[in-house]
Symmetry: C2
Subunit: 329 residues, 2 copies
């Protein structure tokens, strides 16, 4: 039902998506009255490319995941994931409660063979383009084997959505030297070095936005802190810049004159263009949009899901995991 803003975000984004991708179909899952009302408002009609699947419940944004999973079997979230499970949809995109989405997806879809933990992966802007970082918060305690699996999944995601043959994989650490880091990270570096992935080695926090590697592997605690620290710093800098340009008449005039430049700058770092976190490791494609996304941002999350399906990310992960398993055997 679309996170903080509901169908007023998801339905227009779905219609735009159908316009962009003539071979795609969308199933809108939710309270029929609300979805129909939004379709009516936009003068859109259901047809064979735009279907509606009714759900009678909605998971609240702050609802405990276990409660949503056990208590709301006809929630829009659950119904959408069931569609993926039953093969009636190729992917589920949701702006809802992250914990509930992860718990429900894991319960219904199950994990891919060889993957022990699901991970949350997202793209971030860099000086060279973008990088894919995982895990961003699904796992607060990871073993070296989990980090290896994250490397495999991140690499397959980038292969699928950025069309790269052998994306480089970096392991987030406190220094580049092999002796740095804790025991888990040191062991993960060994596993990644022997994995057949294009393993770059250790990278540091500064390397994230430098774009040193295409994929960045870290445990969910570290990844979550790095992501949220970045959000906080960006907010502070934006606030400072706003304050300086609003300080007096002269600086306001400067801001007005420089507006086209500032707008281009803003566009380059517009976080909406990076919206969409992939829930990886599941037997199905699930993409989580930011809860506060607008329809422009939500469109990027749909596009992500589309690319993952179109370029068969799940098979890529499966193939890579089975070749790793054979190596180990």
């Amino acid at each position: 039902m679309g996170g903080d803003h509901g169908t007023s975000v998801t339905v227009p984004a779905a219609l735009d998506f159908l316009g962009r991708q003539p071979d795609a179909r969308v199933v809108l899952v939710g309270l029929p009255d609300m979805v129909e009302a939004e379709l009516g408002r936009l003068s859109a009609r259901r047809d064979d490319r735009l279907l509606l699947q009714a759900a009678s419940e909605v998971v609240a944004m702050d609802e405990p995941p276990a409660q949503a999973l056990r208590g709301k079997r006809d929630s829009s979230m659950r119904v959408a994931i069931d569609l993926v499970k039953d093969g009636r949809a190729d992917a589920c995109v949701s702006a809802g409660n992250t914990g509930a989405l992860m718990a429900t997806a894991r319960f219904v879809l199950k994990m891919l063979s060889g993957i022990e933990r699901p991970a949350i992966a997202s793209f971030m802007p860099t000086l060279r383009g973008r990088t894919c970082m995982l895990d961003l918060g699904a796992n607060v305690d990871c073993s070296a084997e989990h980090l290896l699996q994250f490397g495999v999944m991140g690499s397959c995601l980038v292969s699928a959505v950025a069309h790269m043959e052998r994306p480089s994989v970096g392991l987030l650490n406190v220094g580049e030297e092999e002796i740095k880091g804790n025991e888990v990270v040191k062991r993960a570096a060994e596993l990644l070095r022997d994995s057949g992935l294009n393993f770059f080695g250790n990278i540091e926090g500064t390397d994230i936005y430098r774009g040193t590697t295409d994929v960045i592997v870290c445990d969910g605690f570290v990844g979550n802190v790095a992501l949220k620290t970045s959000e906080g710093l960006a907010q502070m800098l934006a606030q400072y810049l706003r304050e300086e340009f609003n300080r007096n008449l002269f600086s306001m005039l400067c801001g007005f004159i420089a507006l086209p430049v500032i707008k281009r700058f803003r566009h380059r770092i517009d976080h909406r263009r990076y919206n969409g976190a992939s829930l990886l490791g599941l037997k199905g494609v699930v993409v989580k949009s930011h809860g506060s996304a607008d329809s422009y941002a939500f469109g990027f999350a749909i596009d992500r899901a589309y690319e993952e399906v179109r370029h068969d990310m799940l098979s890529k992960i499966g193939d890579r995991m089975s070749s790793l398993g054979q190596k180990a055997a």
Copy 2:
């Protein structure tokens, strides 16, 4: 001998400091020829407030800490720390090799009673002023007890240098709720809650730059990643802004007109004003300047050391640790 730039940074900064603080004295430690040459260049003379202590060796910036510790007993770093140990100096400020400084300081000065691990603490700008974060990389594996000790030390540091009676202490986590995080962090929250410190509770990465708390406690792996991620993001944003203002003649003109505004913005986030990482937990005050600091930045590191001594941070930590010990007993 002053990090990447040597005496051309440290000596002028020391002279400026003596001008600012009429009750202070400085001992310059290093190769006498180089120090004398710099003093000569600045037409400064040694007197009872500006002393020189000769050292015959210098620790290289990339030298392994163990090698520096064992092999260079007459390095400027070692001699300076020996002065603190012998009570002939109150503090040591260095822009040299961080690992070697930490290893040498720990070996020579020993740890304060009750503190098991030294920590690196630094101040960062926030929307409300500044916050003190630790550990920033001395410890990649921390127990809950270590995090508690970091809380005590950070709190005493802020009391001393920012003159706050009861600074608030936040525990960096992946969510604000008590159930969030790994076992170490959950246990650390319990210890901090019972510590008598002004414990705020869990905070997230976004809270760092919001200035939610005066002190932020985290393990060195997470702290190091958060700090370096911030550096990388700031560099990327600065680069983007530069590129946009240099895109064409019009945008260059905009940049020229807005220069006073941009300069004020830059001043507010000038990292040189936050230079100086305190090595805490030792029986002595040791402050590490960034290796690439200029003399303006190095001055802030000297000021930090001065404030820690003047407001007797070491006794504050000692008192707080012994009251914690009595509580536990």
